[in-house]
């Protein structure tokens, strides 16, 4: 006998369940998010879609295994106890950006998921499985963490910076961050953070900074300025300080400008120091100018004095000589002695006139030194030779010159210099020996230059020699003869005031040169003159 039990209902029901399960399975498998189904308290992975298998990184072998076995790295993390708990409570659990450490490609890595655990109940109401959906948000989380890290770093940098930095946010320029330096600079405490700047620092209003900040915010062009002044309260008192500052626009990802970073360096000390230096310099310059004026006035007074000396002193001297002679002629015949006395008076007075004239000439030497022009020394000697024609003829003298240079010098002084030397050479002659005077020149070599310490290093010099065959002098007097009014001979032997060579020396010095003499008594003298030749 065959017994047939009508199992249609059961089969249909089972088929329905199978269908339902099938539908469910394909739902899961086709879900765009990682989805899986843990069945039983052991959390056996019955279903897991491709997305989830990828998340776990273990391949499809995980299917059918309990979770703890498929992902052993979960040990120690909170998922297993959590899921077990959900089994008990039947509650669902949602997490955003939750961390899970998974071994993927053989390496334990950190991941972040937005995940959802949903317990599934059977018909009896008991939990038989938990469905998980998870979205991998690792990238976003890491990016956000990186951003937060950057912001933290920036904040720290700002706060720790040794110069004043602050960040203004928004069109009200709310003080978002301000480091200690900036707070000190403002003369305010931390209470200003979070306030719009012009509310926190009302003293800064109306100094032009509203316009500058708005300009940067709108145009996106940075602004910087040096040594601008700003008035701020310091210890309750308004002070003007000087700052170098820069405003940099802060851009968002979309390019809009959300704020301004301001850096400020207080340069008040520098500016004040510099102003002080400028003051001191101005004062010194004034002092110098005053000293110059004083010197110029002195010079003018000296010139006047020299002129007066020339005129007013010579006048009475002339009277003495003139009236002495008139007296003599008035007296008619006088005895020899009286005649001598008259002559002595006249001679002395004439000598005094010469001295006064020479002193005047000597003192005026520094005044006329400014005008320098090219001087042909050879031509000058020829000129002087014709001036001295009479004396030359009288003494049968011969003056010759060769290789004489042309260089920049003061014409009058050169004339005086060489005139004096020639005049001396024509005067201090040996009895019966016609004077022979030769003048020549050479370029001063570097070795020779070194011997003369006072010469200027960067200038070319030439050395001119004036040689005569006159009476000469003993070398021990070689320096003395250049002293003013120093004479080696009495006035009865040779006329002269003793100023000629002193004049020559001063002239040489005026031209940054030198003069000295070498001689042997009875065999002539050579004068050596070093002058710049340019």
């Amino acid at each position: 006998m065959q017994v047939a039990i009508d199992v249609t209902e059961q089969v249909t029901a089972r088929k329905k369940i199978e269908e339902s399960e099938e539908k469910f399975r394909s739902l899961i498998e086709e879900a765009p998010v990682a989805t899986c189904l843990f069945v039983g308290r052991k959390l056996t992975i019955e279903v897991a879609n491709e997305a989830m298998i990828r998340v776990w990184g273990k391949g499809p072998s995980v299917i059918g295994k309990p979770l703890a076995e498929a992902l052993p790295e979960l040990e120690g993390q909170h998922f297993l106890p959590l899921l077990d708990d959900l089994y008990t409570t039947g509650k669902s659990y949602k997490a955003k950006g939750g961390r899970a450490d998974l071994v993927v490609d053989g390496k334990l890595q950190n991941f972040y998921f937005d995940y959802d655990f949903k317990p599934l109940r059977d018909t009896a109401g008991g939990v038989y499985a938990i469905m998980e959906t998870a979205i991998d948000v690792t990238a976003q989380i890491l990016a956000k963490k990186a951003l937060e890290e950057n912001e933290r770093n920036l904040r720290n940098t700002i706060l720790q910076a040794s110069f004043a930095i602050c960040i203004f946010r928004g069109p009200q320029f709310v003080i978002e961050i301000a480091n200690e330096s900036m707070l000190q600079f403002w003369g305010k405490g931390k209470e200003v953070v979070g306030k719009p700047v012009f509310e926190a620092l009302p003293e800064v209003k109306g100094q032009g900074y509203e316009e500058i900040l708005s300009g940067v915010l709108q145009s996106g062009n940075p602004f910087s300025a040096n040594e601008l002044s700003v008035t701020l309260p310091r210890a309750g008192v308004l002070q003007t300080v000087y700052v170098n500052f820069a405003y940099e626009p802060i851009r968002e990802f979309n390019g809009s400008i959300s704020g301004i970073m301001a850096t400020t360096i207080d340069v008040t000390d520098q500016v004040l120091a510099r102003q002080k230096i400028e003051e001191v310099v101005a004062e010194r310059t004034k002092e110098l100018a005053a000293a110059n004026l004083s010197l110029e006035r002195n010079n003018r007074e000296l010139e006047q004095f020299a002129y007066i000396a020339s005129h007013d002193l010579q006048e009475p001297l002339r009277k003495v000589t003139t009236f002495t002679q008139m007296l003599k002629s008035n007296l008619g015949e006088v005895d020899a002695k009286s005649a001598t006395y008259f002559n002595k008076i006249t001679a002395s007075t004439l000598r005094m006139i010469d001295l006064v004239r020479d002193v005047l000439e000597f003192s005026q030497l520094s005044n006329k030194q400014r005008v320098f022009e090219p001087m042909d020394i050879g031509a000058l000697i020829d000129d002087l030779t014709s001036d001295f024609e009479l004396a030359i003829e009288q003494k049968g003298a011969m003056i010759s010159h060769r290789d004489l240079p042309t260089f920049s010098a003061n014409a009058l002084q050169m004339r005086q210099l060489f005139g004096n030397l020639l005049s001396n050479a024509l005067k201090f002659t040996r009895e019966g020996v016609p004077p022979v005077i030769s003048i020549s020149s050479a370029v001063l070599s570097d070795e020779e230059k070194e011997v003369h310490k006072d010469l200027l290093p960067d200038i070319n010099y030439c050395i001119i020699t004036v040689e005569d065959n006159g009476i000469g002098f003993s070398e021990e007097h070689a320096e003395k003869i250049f002293s003013i009014f120093q004479r080696l001979h009495g006035k009865t032997e040779f006329a002269g005031t003793g100023i000629g060579l002193a004049l020559c020396k001063k002239i040489a010095q005026n031209h940054h040169g030198e003069i000295w003499a070498t001689s042997q008594p009875g065999s002539g003298t050579t004068f050596h003159i070093i002058l710049p030749c340019k």
């Binding site: 005129h311 010579q314 000589t321 009236f323 002495t324 002679q325 007075t349 004439l350």
Partner: protein
């Protein structure tokens, strides 16, 4: 005639007129010597006189109107200028500047007073002889 015209001396120093007078006497020069101690009175004389002076000796450094200033006024005044009286400076000072200034005023000579009286007389004679010979519009 001009050759016998007066010789004018303009100098603030009374000694100078005595020296010149003595020199003229010793030289045998008989022209009248007229002395002005300041430039202004000399100038008014030159403007108004009917006489035809031979020569003017003038000092430079005088209080009030200086010799240079006097010469300038003469050259700028029609009447005085027309008389063309030879004008020489006879002075102690002889700086280059003074000489330049003087010749800018068209003087007929610039001489430094020699200290020795003999030289002074020689100089006066030289100048006098020169103007005795020199032709002149007022002849």
């Amino acid at each position: 005639m001009l050759k016998n015209g007066p010789i004018i001396l303009i100098d603030d120093d009374a000694d100078e007129v005595e020296i010149l007078r003595d020199a003229l006497q010793k030289l045998g020069i008989q022209n009248e010597l007229i002395w002005f101690s300041d430039g202004l009175s000399a100038f008014s004389y030159l403007k108004t006189t009917e006489a035809k002076p031979l020569l003017i000796f003038s000092d430079i450094n005088m209080p009030g109107v200086s010799g240079i200033e006097l010469r300038r006024r003469i050259t700028e005044d029609e009447e005085a200028k027309r008389k063309s009286v030879p004008f020489v400076f006879l002075t102690t000072a002889s700086g280059t500047l003074a000489i330049k200034e003087a010749y800018a005023m068209c003087v007929q000579g610039f001489f430094q007073k020699p200290p020795l009286f003999d030289d002074y007389m020689k100089l006066v004679k030289q100048i006098y002889d020169y103007w005795q010979v020199c032709r002149h519009p007022n002849d």
